[in-house]
């Protein structure tokens, strides 16, 4: 699904150049649940930016579902993002003046899905994350865990090929974190490919594979025995 070869990325900071990613080789199969770990400054955010087509790579290649991601203009990148990728963020990033349902329906608006169909689909995904009856509520009326579940529903609504989660449990307590991870595992069980950036080992252990980044290179890439989050959730 994801094929990255010899990826380099550096940022210019004044006269100095900061080499952030120093030759990453990395591939993800369909249906995998991968945790990307590393301390801050290890380059995991940059990698996620590039994976999310929000930044361009300097050198190397990146194929997503067989499509080379290269020299994209803004419009094309937007199209690919909409078609291939779903994002989940640490701080949820729901639009605060839109209801849960409208938030979930938003990516469909950019897919030019008709209003009625958008609402039906949005409700379907809210149902999946267990928030059907919260559809008309504003984000401010939801708890952190509920917000993140709405965000996950929104990421899933566009039916992306890959779900990119940037510290999805970073702002949640552990109980709620496990609930969210339980949801993510269930989505993964349905065959969706998911990448999670995290620095929490217990969250990483709930994935099927852990990739360790340090100073811009992968120092460890191992498949693990998945810990099911369901056992922590009553």
């Amino acid at each position: 699904m994801i094929e990255i070869k010899n990826l380099h990325k550096s940022y210019k900071m004044g006269s100095n150049s900061l080499h952030v990613l120093k030759g990453i080789n990395f591939s993800v199969e369909e249906g995998e649940l991968v945790a990307i770990m590393g301390s801050s400054g290890s380059g995991k955010s940059t990698l996620l930016n590039i994976l999310g087509m929000l930044d361009e790579l300097d050198d190397g290649s990146y194929d997503l579902d067989g499509v080379p991601i290269k020299d994209l203009n803004e419009t094309k990148a937007a199209n690919y993002r909409n078609k291939f990728l779903g994002f989940v963020f640490q701080s949820f990033n729901l639009i605060n003046y839109k209801s849960a349902m409208e938030n979930v329906a938003l990516p469909l608006y950019y897919q030019r899905v008709a209003r009625k169909e958008r609402q039906e689909k949005a409700l379907k995904y809210l149902e999946q994350v267990g928030l059907r009856e919260w559809a008309e509520h504003l984000p401010s009326e939801l708890s952190g865990g509920q917000k993140q579940r709405v965000a996950i529903a929104r990421a899933m609504a566009a039916e992306p090929k890959v779900l990119l989660a940037d510290e999805p449990t970073g702002a949640l307590d552990s109980k709620t974190s496990y609930e969210v991870m339980d949801l993510i595992q269930k989505i993964n069980d349905q065959g969706n490919t998911i990448l999670i950036v995290t620095h929490e080992p217990d969250i990483a252990d709930m994935c099927k594979r852990i990739v360790h980044l340090k100073d811009g290179v992968i120092i460890e890439d191992k498949k693990i025995e998945q810990v099911r989050a369901a056992q922590y959730v009553q």
Binding site: N49, T75, N82, F87, N93, I95, K98, Y110, R115
Partner: protein, 416 residues
């Protein structure tokens, strides 16, 4: 523009951001409102001043001769110019000029006015009937000099209120009494008064011009000529007409009396409308002032609209990032923000326009203050101002929106 989904999205946004929308709308409509009211009262002041001076702006002009000051055709300067009947007749009959009234005055010298053996010290002037209108004199009793008097050299005299008061206080009416002027008896036929002038102007009595010239050895001499031009629709036309007539008059008289064309002091023509014109230039100044104030009001409006758009876009940076992560194309985001901005500024701008113009329409005609009359505003000016504000607001929103769209999504969304 006609994308229904886009409109729904915009209406959703507006409905759910009532305060933001209301503030933007309020600043735009109050800007327009203030501007229109300001321009309206500028116009009202102009109308008011025009009205005040229209009453005073007599369309008359006065001609009197003097001494020449420039040597011309071998004639020395200092020569006294004497107007004659012939001049007046040429002007009134063959110059084809457009005037309504024309009168001439002859001031005989060394005349003695006697009543009941008392010597009176008043001036005597010969004139014709038109003078009454030109000098704006009213009749208290009897009648003024008329054409028949002039044709028949009638020995009649019209006295002023002041003379009546000072000399004829003992008789019931001076009409029918006789004055002896340089030995000839003149019957009093009327009493006149001057409008608004102090009584110094009422030191005169009038006799028919022909009688004056015959009786007091005036021959065909005249001292003054007065003309009244028609009132025209616009002041500018009146000024133009007046100036044209003045020039025609001056050219003829100078030629006739061998006066240098450059010698404006030899034959004086006094033109009150030129005085009025000076007030109108003052008014142009006032108008300019209002425009300058109006201009800065527009600038202030533009700045405040721009400011609000900047804040609105800044506030929405995060939302822009989210939309971008969800696959919104840059132009669709910019388009949406612009679309909303144009919609809000247009609606509120035109609301302000309609409200202020409605107020001017309603209140304007009832304003009764000196120097302010019927404040109103040129619709086109106000309309263009609204358009200008909309464009300014749009441009002001565009650049920050463009910048916001270029921001790195992950960074924008991660920082709380």
């Amino acid at each position: 523009m006609f994308d229904i989904e886009r409109w729904q999205e915009i209406f959703d946004t507006i409905r759910k951001n009532k305060l933001r929308t209301a503030l933007t709308g309020l600043s735009v409509s109050s800007g327009i409102f203030i501007l229109v009211i300001l321009l309206g009262f500028g116009q009202g002041m102009q109308n008011g001043i025009a009205e005040e001076f229209k009453e005073d702006a007599a369309t008359s002009l006065w001609v009197w001769p003097n001494r020449t000051t420039i040597e011309y055709n071998g004639l020395n300067p200092g020569r006294r110019i004497q107007l004659r009947n012939e001049n007046f007749e040429t002007i009134t009959t063959s110059m084809g000029a457009d005037f309504e009234k024309a009168s001439m005055l002859y001031f005989p010298r060394d005349v003695k006015v006697v009543y009941n053996n008392d010597l009176l010290v008043y001036n005597v002037a010969g004139t014709n009937g038109d003078l009454q209108t030109i000098e704006n004199e009213y009749l208290s009793e009897g009648r003024f000099i008329n054409e028949t008097d002039v044709q028949q050299n009638a020995k009649v005299v019209v006295i002023s209120n002041k003379i009546k008061r000072e000399v004829f206080s003992e008789v019931e009416t001076p009409i029918g009494e006789y004055l002896t002027i340089s030995g000839a008896g003149f019957r009093i036929v009327g009493v006149f008064g001057e409008h608004g002038e102090d009584e110094g102007e009422e030191e005169r009595m009038f006799v028919p011009i022909t009688t004056a010239q015959l009786t007091f050895n005036g021959a065909d001499k005249i001292n003054n000529m007065n003309f009244m031009l028609p009132e025209l629709e616009s002041f500018d036309e009146m000024v133009a007409n007046n100036t044209a007539f003045t020039e025609q008059l001056s050219r003829y008289l100078k030629q006739k009396h061998n006066v240098s064309p450059d010698d404006d002091r030899a034959i004086r023509i006094w033109n009150p409308i030129q005085e009025a014109k000076r007030f109108f230039s003052l008014m142009d100044g006032i108008k300019l002032f209002f425009w300058v104030v109006g201009f800065f009001t527009i600038i202030a409006g533009v700045v405040s609209v721009s400011n609000i758009m900047l804040i609105v876009v800044k506030e929405r940076t995060r939302e822009i990032g989210i939309r971008k992560a969800l696959g919104a194309k840059p132009w669709s985001i910019i388009g949406m923000i612009m679309h909303e901005a144009i919609f809000v500024t247009s609606i509120s701008g035109f609301a302000g326009l309609i409200f202020s113009m409605g107020l001017l329409e309603l209140v304007g005609p009832h304003v009764e203050v000196d120097y302010i009359l019927n404040p109103s505003v040129d619709f086109n000016v106000a309309f263009s101002t609204v358009i200008l504000l909309i464009i300014a607001g749009t441009l002001a929103g565009f650049f920050p929106a463009w910048k916001a769209v270029k921001v790195q999504v992950i960074e924008a969304l991660r920082d709380e």
